[in-house]
Symmetry: C2
Subunit: 502 residues, 2 copies
């Protein structure tokens, strides 16, 4: 190790722990539970998992892998192809891993993202043997300074027997100070999370652990994967317009000010497009209290619309990433990255009064939302933080295009095939057709509003016919059970949810 990087490893005794990825990966044995940094393709460990995958090609190594959320740099793909994953939690978004999950080869437990470390801390799931944490640097006291995400890194490092640190030399030291690491105490002596404002700092800027637990230090130069954000299209622009108009009405009605309330936006093109809608809006001094900051957050900063953003990670497109990190000082004092337990904490979300905007895979006539399961069976990504936010938000908004597969799939169906968010946790449904304000409505009323405002033909007429038949059967939430999934069956068999005669 010619270059000891004293600015990156500031506790001299730890210089001796510098090693290569293969040596570090040798600390991980078959059957172990590994807790790794990484949240929405940001800040995952980039070297040791690959060395582990290489070993798994030659010997039996099957681990339980816990992360913050999804990983970049194909780490999940490579580990899956090497057969190294027995169990995976609490979130993933990789096509190869997803396929293995859906074949039943990898046991996938998707959690509300705020809850994983609670289960670990109370020993209700298997303990972390080894943590692998990407870092900008290790401080004089042996504390770990994360990179572009915090995720579950702090609790994993604290709870693990051994910690491997991957120091990313491509990440600037100026990331130091960006993070705010607060860890709730063990129950029953836990106190309130003291956070009462989006821009408040309640913890430390690094993850403090016993330095003796740091068993290996590896260097990397790999950057985070760029985020593949789709550009707004006509439909997402319409969704954004409907939402902006809705917020204007809320301000006119005196329920919100032009500052609104702190915004959470799920990941993906719809949420990004919706947030971009604020650029040319009358709203100002906006804040975000979210789990991930995408391109839109920095566009809103540049437009002078956004005052402060709190999240657990930053994930940007290639172009935006180059721009933002080349002049990071311009943003740093308006940003904070927190553990996902804090960014997604029910206590804080309820207290601050978040406006939560998440994408739906499928919505039913009563406003139940499926965020995860295609045809009710096949996992896409996972529930992620959407449940943490939707349940506890001041206002819970779900957005989706009304159609998919060239019109052969309606995103609004008689009954969702999988429920991630019950009607109690869904206030607003918005599609390119329009917006359904469901607040204060009973299920039969919700059905009318959703069908009339959010659905285009021919599905609108088909849903009206279903509702009429269901109402004949009666009930608080009328259904014709033997036909509730008829559209899904038709799509599976005939390739379209539309009626055969059409």
């Amino acid at each position: 190790m010619l270059n000891a990087h004293h600015d990156r490893i500031r506790l001299p005794q730890l210089q001796a722990r510098i090693t290569d990825a293969a040596t570090a990966a040798a600390l991980i044995h078959d059957g172990m539970t590994v807790g790794m940094s990484g949240f929405t393709r940001s800040g995952e460990a980039k070297e040791v998992p690959l060395a582990l995958a290489a070993r798994a090609q030659k010997e039996r190594i099957k681990i339980t892998l816990m992360t913050g959320a999804s990983l970049g740099n194909d780490v999940d793909k490579i580990l899956t192809e090497a057969g190294a994953l027995a169990r995976r939690m609490p979130f993933q978004a990789d096509p190869v891993l997803r396929a293995a999950i859906n074949r039943g080869e990898v046991m996938y437990i998707d959690h509300h993202l705020s809850e994983t470390v609670e289960l670990l801390r109370t020993k209700q799931i298997a303990p972390i043997d080894v943590a692998i944490i990407e870092a900008v640097a290790i401080t004089e006291t042996g504390a770990i300074i994360p990179t572009t995400s915090v995720g579950n890194s702090a609790s994993y490092a604290i709870l693990a027997d051994q910690v491997i640190v991957e120091i990313n030399l491509s990440q600037a030291l100026e990331l130091e100070g960006l993070h705010d690491v607060f860890i709730p105490k063990h129950r029953p002596s836990r106190e309130p999370v003291p956070l009462v404002a989006v821009d408040q700092r309640i913890g430390s800027t690094a993850i403090q652990i016993d330095p003796d637990k740091i068993a290996a230090i590896v260097f990397t130069h790999k950057l985070d994967s760029a985020s593949p954000i789709a550009q707004p299209d006509e439909d997402t622009a319409a969704i954004a317009r409907h939402l902006i108009a809705f917020f204007e009405e809320e301000v006119n009605a005196g329920r919100l000010t032009k500052q609104l309330l702190p915004l959470q936006a799920g990941i993906g093109s719809i949420a990004n497009a919706v947030m971009m809608g604020f650029v040319d809006s009358p709203f100002e001094k906006l804040t975000m209290y979210s789990e991930v900051l995408q391109d839109c957050a920095f566009d809103l900063f540049d437009a002078g619309k956004l005052d402060f953003a709190s999240a657990s990670s930053i994930t940007l497109s290639e172009e935006k990433g180059k721009d933002v990190f080349s002049r990071f000082a311009a943003y740093k004092d308006r940003l904070v990255l927190r553990p996902q337990e804090v960014s997604n904490h029910p206590e804080v979300i309820r207290r601050l009064g978040i406006i939560a905007i998440n994408a739906a895979l499928e919505v039913d006539i009563y406003g139940n939302v499926n965020s995860t399961h295609v045809q009710g069976t096949h996992m896409m990504n996972g529930i992620g933080g959407s449940g943490d936010f939707a349940r506890n938000a001041y206002l819970s908004i779900f957005a989706t295009k009304s159609l998919a597969k060239g019109g052969d799939v309606s995103r609004i169906v008689p009954m969702v095939t999988h429920v991630d968010h019950t009607e109690h946790d869904v206030d607003i449904i918005v599609t390119e057709v329009g917006l359904a304000d469901l607040r204060g409505l009973a299920p039969r009323e919700r059905a009318q509003v959703i069908v009339n405002h959010c659905v285009a033909e021919p599905y609108r007429s088909m849903l009206k016919a279903y509702i009429a038949d269901a109402n004949q059967r009666g009930g608080q939430t009328p259904h014709v059970l033997e036909r509730a999934f008829e559209w899904h069956t038709r799509y599976r068999v005939h390739g379209s949810m539309k009626k055969i005669e059409e």
Copy 2:
């Protein structure tokens, strides 16, 4: 008014507001929203609603009625039969009202019980015109001392234009001091709910409002309705045994102490039986942080097992009620009644680490729970507080007998027809057959554990066959959609979920 009851109305200027129920009810007009005390058949207004129903027999009066939860003294029945209810929230448990709801005549919006007042406070649902609050007394400052429940009474009184107080002369003045009224501030300047221990008091003992808002005071002598709690039977005793054995294992594993963590128990015979199981258990110094205290809480006090109980109401059987209220001083310093916003607050539930025990109407092989809808369509009572607790608990337990209708209905089905609690919020399923510990398991594993531990024949074999067929289709959560509700359809048509040939 011969007897001015100066001990009951301590602010002299309010003596002039004493009137009869019919005069008080005249303050309520067609189309108004009325917020009323009452939570799990305790502490509801008993005179003015009946006078309102009498008027509604003669003139058009249709109101939105909000309460804490269910009402006693047939108040919901009488109002329904008088045609006085247009809309009802956030909970009910009356057979006559339920039938009207299921016919679509009364619009019923069931809420997570902690959330109703948040929606009111932020003007997201129609504002309260008149509040009707049962009280033990009105203090020197015009503050209202509730009776056997707090529910939403405090926020209703604070937010209403006019308040009618029903002073219940059958309720002893010694109830004063039982209540702890804390109301969170408006956002965005809200601070933490400071509650960090079950026995902590964080508010005032009465509901402070502007006394000028008290428009009428009515007296009543009617008692709360007795709670119709079924005695434990062989099945509920078995459920209790399985749970006690589970808790013993948790203590042996070092995850819990003999004090466990604060217990929440849903209302009804199963939860009552489970709690009674603690009487002859090795656990001690137990605490409850629940929404309602049934007979079992006082049996546990008498058995020396329970140290303190916090809830939003007390609802007792006739015999137990006579006993408890005849010697209330023996219990009072170990009890506190809070607003349901606090008893059910996600922030507090998560912080304290509650063990939540709730009843399920129907459970599916993946651990999704239906608490409310018979055949997915017809409302029983409502989701109540079960969602507040299940989502945020340290441990979320759902209990049900495995069979109903003499064995023609299986409570464990391929897919629940309505989801109140998603698999993420369900840690333990327990039936008289056994207990399924689902912590850390993926859906395919959950199915095996539930079917093997909680289901009796012939349904166990039927579920295994379903799972085998579903696994052929693949997925994270395998299903055969066109057969997912086959059992329910069979029951509707043939009166049994069992296969026809059997």
